[in-house]
Amino acid sequence: MALALALGASANDTVYVSGALEHEGLLDWTPVRYHSNTYLDLSLNYQCDSNRHHYHGLRATTRLEMTQWPMLGYEPDFPGHGMSHLSLTNIFDWGEISVGDVYGQFGSGLILNLYEDRSLGIDGALRGAKIEAIPTDGLHLTALGGKQRRYWSCYDDGAWGWNYRRDALVGGDVELHIERWSKRMREQDIHLMIGASYVSKYEAEDSLYTYQDGMMYRYRLPHWVGAGDVRVKWQMRGVDVLIEYARKANDPNADNDMTYRDGEALMASLSYSRQGMAVLAQVKRSDNMSFRSERLRMGIAGRLNNLPAFAQHHTYALAAEHPYATSYTTGEWAFQASILYTWNRKTKMGGRYGTTLKLNASHIRGLAAPGSWDIDTSEDGEYYTDVNIELNKRLSKRWWLNAMLMYQAQNQRVIEGEGDLIRSGIAVVDTRVQVSKNVGMRGEAQYLYTPHADGQWLFLLYELSLFKQLTLSAEWMYNIGYAPEATNEHFYTFSATYSHKAHRLAIGYTKTQEGYHCAGGVCRYVPEQQGVSVNYSFNW
């Protein structure tokens, strides 16, 4: 309120505070220890009711984190606590100016995608400034600069628990929305966007040496590494075409074994959608596109870009058992196609309530050689394949059914660094019944067959929802075996979740197996866990 008054707020202006509290915890049995990740986001918002000097208001945000004893599987630098985020955004009629910790994405993220993903432990925020502007209709501009966050460790001259590397980043993005300058295009609902971005990262030189042919050499490293991106997007009557190309100049780093070769990525996407139908086909080639703020950084943190994984993100447990992570350094050719079709209700195929069928296929292979445009057609060149068909149907007034059949192949060596090509077949049946107004039930049965790795799996889940506030669930996963690495182990989770207005509390007992949690093409190893889980969230 004081801030609002200082800004000369009037009675018609709005000031409000919003926030979110999120806590995820596990009381581990062996040894007895409580692991938790807690985040408190606070936002002070001031909105001007009247348009005074083009000014619309401001937004101040902060985030406090307590991850000193974090959930299992995060990187060694992850533990810490303090104020991890602080930013102030001024909002004008032509755009926004933000100072503090900012996120951003240029195009599809091939050269810049700074985001936060708590499940992976990613926070790519830039501490600096960002300007987003629409100075004239059809012209979008973005400029940003700063230093990227790296967990909590400090330099001697660090401030606020933040690790300021010696590096810095500047970047700009321009998008021309041509239809804004053509009445005819707008009348025909045609959208044409041409965009270009440029990012340059600075890093002080490291003393890196190599021993070759009996001699010691020092690497001469570029201080400034630039990356550019151009894209064209055309939309018309449900058809959407995107072509995007990115190139990165010499960037020798730990990921690419100190290679000076330029990196590049090319992506093309075609989609069509209308009522009841959607079709997508896309292809991507990338080579040596690992782009980080620190040249010696490996693992999850420190990424400046994000190459989308052309693999469907699965939520069913066994379908997500062997996930895929984008191959940034060695490169890949990725192909994906999907079709969704809905038969309307009261038709022969749709039945009384309608039927939706989804077909998705992904196929990802390596490059024949570093820098090559040829596809590696050898057996080891297959990185990932996923072909699945999914049926969604309402069987009656109270009964819904979702069923999926899937073929999957995952090259373990690409994801985990070792292993074979795991081919598996998966079947899922997911059914939900609304017993009464206040009682609902859901059941899942999943089966995975593979002769590789740890063999066959069975998954069962039962969920009971009461009064739209309380959900009780039990899930069980069993490694049936019949494979070299079979364990015949049982894994289970029993939980109760209570929701009341903006509060949500879930308590359970769980034993989960080790594996990889993946999102957006990035994976994090999660070790086996057993104990009492506590999750709480509150939004206001």
Partner: protein, 279 residues
Amino acid sequence: MVIGKRLYIILALALALGGCEVIPEAERLVPVDTPAGGGRRHMLVEYTGFRCVNCPSAAETAEQLQSLYGDELIVVSMHPASNPFTQGLYDYTCPMADSLYLWMGGTASTPFPTGNIDLQAADDGYLIDPLEWPGQLLQAMQDTAAPYLEVSAYGDSLTGELKIEVAMGATAAMDCRLAVWLTEDSVHGVQAMPDGSVNSDYIHRHMLRAAITPERFGIPCSLSTSVSMQILDGRCPDECVADQCHIVALLLDKDDYHILQAYETTITYISDPLAMPQR
């Protein structure tokens, strides 16, 4: 529009600040002279695991550095049990390896390969990427001052008992710590390789097998200007091939435990127990 003009200027400035530096191919590697020896020996700890596909490349880097520096560099490879890369059907782990790994900040999530020079912390911690080993070692080699350390090791070929004679001295009296380890060279075993294959007859070099001084940083000792002798008892583990075993002795700083001097020697096996050194 005034604000618009300012934006263009800001953007232009932002982009002008950045840039792109292209290093011509002929200028990417700059030859460097390596310093002459000064009597001080250094140790490279190589953390590795049989499931780590990139570790053979790091082992090759360690070998290249050893061929460059000869006796001035002692390499010890450690397989810590706390990292998943060492877990599985084959056990090359050693409790001392795990103890040091955890002390250096290693966890189950620490990416391999990694390593350390002289048990000393670098800018970003104790564990450093193999890319940084040559540079860190080059820096460490600048420091030539070192106390005197020489080791002789004898073994009973029948019982496996070991007697280790450690001779120590310094230019000025000082307190420090003495750690003595047993390593085994040329261990034939299993290793995941960079091409995804598994080599079932991989030769693991300089593998830490046992700690003769069981404490993490050895035993306290005092150095004087005259050479003192200490005799330690040990035993060659049953799973080791006696002829392939070496003894590594380290003098460590008593406060931060960094290595002041190191020595590596082979074991001389004697069939007559009466000929073994006595305390």
